[in-house]
Every structure is written in structure tokens, then in C-alpha cells.
């Protein structure tokens, strides 16, 4: 057994993405459970200070592939680097963010190595497995737990025979945590020319418009979320007003995003972000299983809905039977009058 490796995605701003830091935190625990090393790989351009973004999470080894052709991300060169590196260091587990990069890269690598890959895991644990037919016991496998079938089932998936055991995880699912024992990691700068060849640069990027991440609902303590029942973009402004006074962020269901009420970045749920706020105020949201998948870990849920039987009410701590555009202004008014 060798190591747990995390692919560290590089953001527009040249930092390690949050999802990768979350995975480093998880990877650190898995590696410690297994008594093996945590390694990280960062691939990009101008990565001079990139270790700083990785160090606090306890990596033992940091591999860096730094070359001007490696940012922005394209599939083939990043895949080629990972394939050769994995061949050299033989990881036990390899983790990727379930981002547009991770979900493009991980399957390509898994296919080339003929390894199992589990998508969108919501939990990763170490455990044993006994194959009933052959009565063979596999020790210390990675249990990869994921929703599937539109969020209607939760499956535990294992890869008994192939290595690395590969998984992708969405942003916000794992918790980012500093590792107290500050190790002195080994930094391994890869000789990029040995890992890629010119043919891997056939897909050329001719234009990019990437917005810097302005909206960050993931870490919000309080979220005011709106659904299709909010009814209009104008009514959504009321939610922004409430969020303003409460110091909250505004989230949304997919139906609200699809209706054009708010930006996609605010979508919460299976195909959006996962949040764990102290308080979640769901306004005009029915509570489809795909939506709940992203918010049912909230400590407290308030539902404002005209339908007393909306599924969201079943997981709510407080329900208000009423129209969003009547209830929300009243909440704002009360808060303004009574907060110091």
C-alpha cells in the first residue's frame, strides 16, 4: 500500500480550488487510517507558491507539474501526467473534485488504467468486504457512498481488485480542516517534458470567459432560498432584501434557476452546491429529492409554502403556510424593528 493522492485543481486566480482542499482534508484522514502517505498533485502554470495552499491540510508529498501549456486545463496533457505519475507512485486511492474539470479528467484516467471510478460520492470510509461467493475477504477497502437514480437511492460502491480506487466528490460535501501536525512535505517538481508530448495539445482553447467566483453560498451560516413558487425575478428581490438584513446568502432550486430568476451559481441540490447552514429558509420550494440532497443537513429549516403538504414541510422545523411575497416582507419588518 502506498498513498492517497488528491488531484489539486487550479482556479482562475492561480490557487488550489476549495474542493481540492476539502479532499485533501478527507484524504489526510483516510491516509492516516490506512497508515499511508497523503500526496497531492498540482498541474498548471506559474505554480511557484502553490505549496502554501496545500500545506495546511497535511500532505506528505506535493507533486508539481508547472508549464505554460498546462493552464488553462485541457484533458489530454493532464491525463497523461496523472497516468505516468500513478504508474510511478501506485496510489491506493485517488480523489478528484466532481467539477467540470474532475468529471472530464477522472473518467479518462480510470479508463486508461482500467480502474473503477465512483462519481459524486457523498461519503468515503474505510471498511472490509467479504465476497460471499468465494468467501474472500478484502481488508481496508474504500467505501464510496453515492446517491444515484436521480437521488432516490444511496449506493455503497467498492473496487476490490483495481488500484487506485478512484472517486469524485462535489464541492462542499467534505469539510475543509487544517491538519494540526504540520509536516514538512517533500516537494517533487516534475520534469514536464517527460510526462507529456506535443500530440496531447491538439485541442486548442480559442476563447474563454470565466467569471471569478463572486457568489459563495457554500459557507453561508444562513441561507434564504427561493423556488419556482417565488413567482418572478421581482419577487426574488424580496429574498435578497431578507438575506441582506439577516447577513445571509440567497440560494435557489433548479426550477428557479431554469426560470431565470437567479444565476446558476446559486443552485442548491444534487446538480448544484451542497450547503450545511445553521438556518435554511425555503421559500416556494416543493422539496424534490434532488433539492433536499443539497440542503437536508441544515441545522434548522423553515419552509414558506402555500401547500401544507409540500414534501419540504416534512423535513422542516417550522412551516409557514402562506405566500412568499406576503411572508417575507413581514419577516424583514420584524427583524428591522427588533434587532439592535
Amino acid at each position: 500500500m502506498n498513498n492517497v493522492i488528491v488531484y489539486c485543481e487550479i482556479t482562475e486566480e492561480g490557487h488550489v480550488a476549495e474542493v481540492s482542499q476539502e479532499l485533501l482534508s478527507k484524504g489526510r484522514k483516510l491516509a492516516s487510517d490506512l497508515g499511508i502517505k497523503l500526496e497531492a498533485i498540482a498541474i498548471g502554470n506559474k505554480l511557484d507558491n502553490i505549496e502554501k495552499d496545500i500545506l495546511p491540510y497535511g500532505a506528505d508529498v506535493i507533486h508539481i507539474a508547472d508549464d505554460k501549456r498546462l493552464f488553462p486545463y485541457t484533458t489530454l496533457p493532464h491525463a497523461a501526467i496523472l497516468l505516468k505519475l500513478f504508474e510511478e507512485i501506485k496510489p491506493e486511492i485517488a480523489l478528484f473534485g466532481a467539477t467540470s474539470i474532475g468529471r472530464d479528467l477522472a473518467p479518462r484516467v480510470a479508463s486508461a488504467m482500467r480502474c473503477g471510478l465512483t462519481a459524486d460520492c457523498t461519503s468515503l470510509e474505510i471498511g472490509d468486504h467479504t465476497e460471499a461467493k468465494t468467501n474472500t475477504t478484502y481488508k481496508n477497502l474504500l467505501y464510496q457512498i453515492r446517491p444515484a437514480f436521480g437521488g432516490n437511492i444511496i449506493a455503497t460502491i467498492i473496487n476490490p481488485d483495481t488500484r487506485p480506487q478512484m472517486a469524485t466528490v462535489r464541492e462542499g460535501v467534505m469539510k475543509k480542516e487544517f491538519w494540526p501536525a504540520v509536516a514538512k512535505p517533500e516537494v517533487n517538481k516534475l520534469d514536464v517534458a517527460k510526462y507529456v508530448n506535443d500530440e496531447q495539445f491538439v485541442v486548442r482553447i480559442i476563447e474563454r470567459h470565466i467569471e471569478s467566483q463572486k457568489i459563495n453560498i457554500k459557507n453561508a451560516q444562513v441561507i434564504v432560498a427561493g423556488g419556482y413558487g417565488v413567482g418572478s425575478k421581482e419577487n426574488f428581490d424580496l429574498l435578497f432584501d431578507l438575506a441582506d438584513v439577516l447577513g445571509a446568502q440567497v440560494g435557489a432550486s433548479r426550477a428557479a434557476v431554469d426560470a431565470g430568476y437567479v444565476e446558476h451559481e446559486r443552485q442548491i441540490g444534487q446538480t448544484g452546491v451542497t450547503v450545511r447552514p445553521k438556518l435554511y429558509i425555503a421559500c416556494g420550494i416543493s422539496g424534490a429529492v434532488q433539492h433536499r440532497a443539497g440542503m437536508d443537513q441544515a441545522s434548522m429549516i423553515i419552509s414558506v409554502n402555500t401547500d401544507p403538504n409540500a414534501p419540504i414541510n416534512q423535513i422542516a422545523d417550522y412551516t409557514i403556510l402562506g405566500q412568499v411575497h406576503e411572508v417575507v416582507p413581514r419577516m424583514i419588518k420584524y427583524y428591522r424593528q427588533n434587532s439592535k
Binding site: T75, R108, A110, F149, T156, T162, I206, S212
Partner: protein, 290 residues
């Protein structure tokens, strides 16, 4: 040699309407209890293929689907919307395949259709939900991939330019052909059925389906070969059996649980000003807000 566009399409249970009876006692999904539909993003994939065909002289679209016999339904649906041919890759030995084994089988079917210029898949199927089959099939064919396509910018016999949708923006990329593309749900929706094509293809059948028909269409197929939806087995695509199905799948499902909604004790309020004030007071007193 026509410019060949291959579309991978999967028939999926409509997971957006899963009822209680959709799970069997052994924890596996009872697909028969759910309506089977054209995977939504694969319809977007078909539309991209049609747009490429609109721009290229002498282009043909071949739809490939792997699944049980009834998946021929989506191949006919694709024909009604403009696909020229269809292949159903079907064999009991495919059952239980994970994405690696699925992409292995699909890549062999695609190879049998070579030479081809563009391979198009949906980004993700709504049942397995992995979004892995597209990139894995591309890797097995050793061709580049463009994921999350939203718009066709330009195409000619040598290269294609595609606008991709990313989390925080868009990217326009250009690739030589052949290439594999996966299509995002933000791409244009598929054009509807065309009445003339419905007439043309309504008797399109697989051989297995033909045997179940009461009327004999064998002769019709002789002078209208496009009515034949080809059926390919493991032998037809020359697959190694141990790379298929459960034995060819490195991922194993250890356990499956149904998601059950746990009802909480909730406090109900009305939209009355007094009620809302009471709730806000409670929240502020317990420092949940403020």
C-alpha cells in the same frame, strides 16, 4: 465516404417519477415499473448531430444504443427526428456493466462503424448519473474529447469548434476530427419529430422485433434496408466476455439503500403577521439569527 456522426443514446427509466414500487425486494431497481424514456441529454446530443449534418454535405447520423430489446424505441424516436440509421447493441452478457465495461462495449460498436468523424454522447444519464461513459469511450478509441458542449460554432471536414459550458463561464475550443463530444443540458433542445420521417421509419424494426410482428415485413425490408435496426451481440462487436458485465466491472455495488423521507416534528405557523412575529421572536431569542 459520408461524413459519419455517431450518437450514443441510452434508454433510461424516468427517475424523475420514482414511486414506491420501483425497487425490488433485493434492492435492485425495478426498471419495468418506470416509464422508459430517451435520456434527456442524449436528445440534445442528437440535435447537435443534426446541426452538424445541416452544415456538411453528405453527412449521416448513426444512433447507437446499448440495452435490452425495447431500447429500439429510442432508436426509432431518433429516426423520426432525423437520424439515418440505428444500431442496438444487445446481449444478456452486457447486464451489470459499470461505466468501464459499458464504454468498452460501446467503443467496440463504434469501431465497427469506423471510419467516423464525430462521436456525440449526452453528458450524463439520469439513472446512473455518472457522466463517465462519454470520456471513457473517447479514451478507449484514443480520440480527444470535448465535454459539456453547448453550441456548435463551426465544423468542416477537418475540425470542429465548440462552445463549452463550465461552472463559471464558457470556453470555445477547437479539435481536429475524429473527436468525441458530450453535450450539456444547456445546449439547444432537439427538434421535434418530422411527419415525413415518421412515415418513412415507422416500420423500422430490429430482427427480434420483426419476429414478434404479426404482419410480415421481411420483403419490405429488402427494398427499404433503412428499416432494419441492426442488432449486435457480443460476438458481433468481438468483445472479450470477461471485460463485460459484472466480471468486467471493477466497481461493485456493495449495498443499496432507498432514500426515505424522515418526518420531523415541525411547528406550523400561518401567514398572519402575529404568527410571523412570533416565529421571528423565537429565532432571535435562540440566536439562530441576529
Amino acid at each position: 465516404m459520408p461524413f459519419r456522426i455517431i450518437v450514443l443514446a441510452k434508454q433510461v427509466p424516468d427517475t424523475r417519477n420514482v414511486g414506491k414500487d420501483a425497487m425490488k425486494a433485493d434492492g435492485t431497481v425495478n426498471r419495468a415499473a418506470l416509464p422508459a424514456i430517451f435520456n434527456p441529454e442524449d436528445l440534445h446530443a442528437l440535435e447537435l448531430a443534426l446541426r452538424i449534418k445541416d452544415q456538411i454535405n453528405d453527412a449521416e447520423i448513426v444512433v447507437v444504443s446499448m440495452g435490452p430489446g425495447r431500447a429500439a424505441e429510442i432508436i426509432r424516436e431518433a429516426m423520426y427526428r432525423g437520424a439515418d440509421r440505428g444500431v442496438l447493441v444487445t446481449d444478456r452478457k452486457f447486464a451489470g456493466s459499470d461505466t468501464l465495461a459499458t464504454s468498452y462495449a460501446l467503443s467496440l460498436a463504434v469501431k465497427k462503424l469506423a471510419p467516423f468523424n464525430v462521436l456525440i454522447a449526452g453528458r450524463q444519464a439520469i439513472d446512473g448519473d455518472t457522466a463517465q461513459v462519454g470520456p471513457q469511450t473517447a479514451e478507449k478509441l484514443h480520440i480527444p474529447q470535448i465535454t459539456y458542449a453547448e453550441e456548435l460554432v463551426d465544423v468542416n471536414s477537418k475540425q470542429i469548434t465548440i462552445k463549452r459550458r463550465l461552472e463559471r463561464g464558457i470556453e470555445v475550443v477547437r479539435s481536429p476530427l475524429p473527436v468525441a463530444i458530450t453535450v450539456h443540458s444547456s445546449a439547444p433542445v432537439c427538434r421535434p419529430r418530422n411527419a415525413i420521417l415518421v412515415m418513412k421509419f415507422k416500420h423500422a424494426r430490429t430482427t427480434t422485433e420483426l419476429q414478434e410482428e404479426t404482419k410480415d415485413y421481411t420483403e419490405l425490408r429488402l427494398y427499404r434496408p433503412y428499416l432494419n435496426i441492426e442488432e449486435w451481440s457480443v460476438e458481433d462487436i468481438q468483445a472479450e466476455t470477461e471485460k463485460l458485465g459484472l466480471s468486467g466491472s471493477p466497481t461493485k455495488v456493495k449495498k443499496i439503500e432507498n432514500v426515505v423521507l424522515q418526518r420531523k416534528e415541525s411547528k406550523a405557523f400561518t401567514a398572519d403577521d402575529k404568527d410571523i412575529d412570533l416565529l421571528m421572536q423565537e429565532l432571535m431569542a435562540s440566536h439562530v439569527i441576529g
